[in-house]
């Protein structure tokens, strides 16, 4: 963490509709090649942070009221989402948000269109995504609205990967999925991080899984970042174990 981080969030405050204060002071950094987890309970502001990072808040009638976000030298608040995507900052929304009436393959292609890829690049990237998520090959013609939740998450991640991201921002990739699928998705992400140095920032309620794969984590409480450290440090802390890992989960973690 000596080099300039890829993403830096400083003193971020945000509100929705001019009234509801969602964030009151969030600081975090993501260095190139890292996996950083943003953890916290429901309503802590994880999704708002990630939407601010992709400059999506204006589309939800929200706004950043203080602080700043810098991605690779770009002032995020002044950079439209599509320009961020082309600069390599690509997000996967909470709840997957596949284009339900489009086929799996068409969903993936839109990710290439967003990046501005040419036909040849899109074809090459499609092959790559199908090798990352082999399950999707046989579903390529199926409508994305009709495949399973886990497959939809793979489509959503695959669509983002079609944008050839340097920083992939994931909001609750485990939401509503069976533990086995969650493990599969996380090990895929970890492999992309290891082999291709894909930097990851992910928000997770499933703190156990998040801390197992992340290098570092930031804990968010009531719209404020309250704790930051390496995953190992956080796992060892009594308060984190009690609040986020649950008593039952703690022994299993130490055993692993």
């Amino acid at each position: 963490m000596t080099a300039t981080p890829l993403l830096r969030v400083e003193g971020l405050e945000a509100r929705y509709g001019g009234a509801v204060r969602a964030l009151v002071g969030v600081d975090l950094t993501v260095g190139a090649g890292e996996i950083v987890a943003l953890v916290g309970s429901n309503g802590a502001g994880k999704t708002t942070v990630l939407k601010a990072v992709s400059n999506l808040l204006p589309a939800e009638r929200g706004q950043v009221t203080a602080g700043r976000i810098v991605y690779d030298g770009l002032d995020v608040a002044r950079t439209p989402t599509d320009a961020l995507v082309r600069a390599g900052l690509v997000g996967v929304l909470e709840g997957r948000h596949c284009f339900r009436a489009l086929s799996v393959e068409e969903n993936l292609v839109t990710g290439g269109l967003g990046r501005g890829s040419g036909r040849a690049a899109i074809r090459a990237d499609l092959d790559r995504i199908f090798s990352v998520f082999p399950r999707l090959v046989e579903k390529r013609r199926a409508l994305a609205g009709l495949i399973s939740g886990g497959e939809q998450q793979m489509v959503a991640i695959g669509r983002a990967l079609m944008g050839r991201p340097r920083l992939l921002v994931l909001d609750e990739p485990s939401m509503g999925l069976a533990p086995k699928i969650v493990a599969e998705i996380f090990s895929t992400l970890a492999r992309l991080n290891r082999d291709e140095r894909l930097t990851l920032l992910l928000a997770e309620q499933n703190v156990t899984v998040a801390l197992r794969h992340a290098d570092r984590a930031v804990v968010l409480e009531n719209g404020r970042s309250v704790l930051e450290g390496t995953a190992a440090e956080l796992r060892a802390r009594d308060d984190v174990r009690a609040f986020y890992l649950g008593l039952g989960a703690a022994p299993a973690l130490t055993a692993a």
Binding site: S54, L56, P58, A59, E60, R61, T81, D82, L84, V85, R86, V90, G91, L93, H97, C98, F99, R100, A101, L102, E106, V109, T110, G111, L113, G114, R115, G116, L143, A144, G145, L146, I147, S148, R159, A160, G163
Partner: protein
Amino acid sequence: MSPDLAFLVEVLVGGLLSGVMYALVAIGFVLIYKTSGVLNFAQGAMLLFAALTFVSLTERGVPFAGAFVATLGVMVLLGLTIERAVLRPLVNQPPITLFMATLGVAYVIEGAAQLAWGTQVHGLDLGIDDTPIDIAGVFVSRFDLFAAAVAGLMVAVLSLFFRYTRTGLAFRAVADDPLAALNTGLRLPRIWAAVWIASGIVALVAGLLWGARLGVQFSLSLVVLKALPVLVLGGFDSILGAIVAGLIVGAVEKLSEVYLGPFIGGGIEGWIAYVAALGFLLVRPSGLFGVRSVERV
């Protein structure tokens, strides 16, 4: 064919063909609604503006092709201007705000058209005579056939465009989930601009055909009122729905006018479509083809 049956077929065919004209207007609505969730009330005013511009140019001696190209250019500019000056600043506002904005735009366009081209009624001759031709004992209007062919061609082009081009795929993505489209890096303002241009072109085609049929005058902008029941019936977000519902509305209007008219007095044609649409709303609020979401059960 017995004379009675021939007459029925004639009424039916006449109704279906006039339904195509309704569908033409409705398609303009669908394009914009599908991609930006805006019910563009100004579609009728755009249609009037196109017809009026075209007629005024030809009356000043501009040849047909030249006037068509010039009007096309004007409609592209008009569509771009509305999107840029009115709707883009209002992006993320509630649908009712956007609808009211288009209502305002409708009156501005009508006023501007009046200012630019005057208020008199113009005749518009596309060079297709409206004489009936005899097809297997059924008389069909030559003009109606031409209009149907034009509409068919336009729908075919639009469908191919949506199905097989990159921009078409981006359109469908935005229509399906705008937030996800934004997040994927698709440039929504560009897509909206493109869609307003497209609806301007649709307005031009519909304006010429309607103008040739009714004469170019201010009541032309009221054809939107003919398109509304079509939209309710077909679903606001389906081009196929607009076509099928246009045909249904056209057929229902003509058939009820001819066969029910004598019993409950004439003029059914004016309101029966609304009755049908209202009844339909109770049964299927999203319309025949307005499938809002693909959902696993």
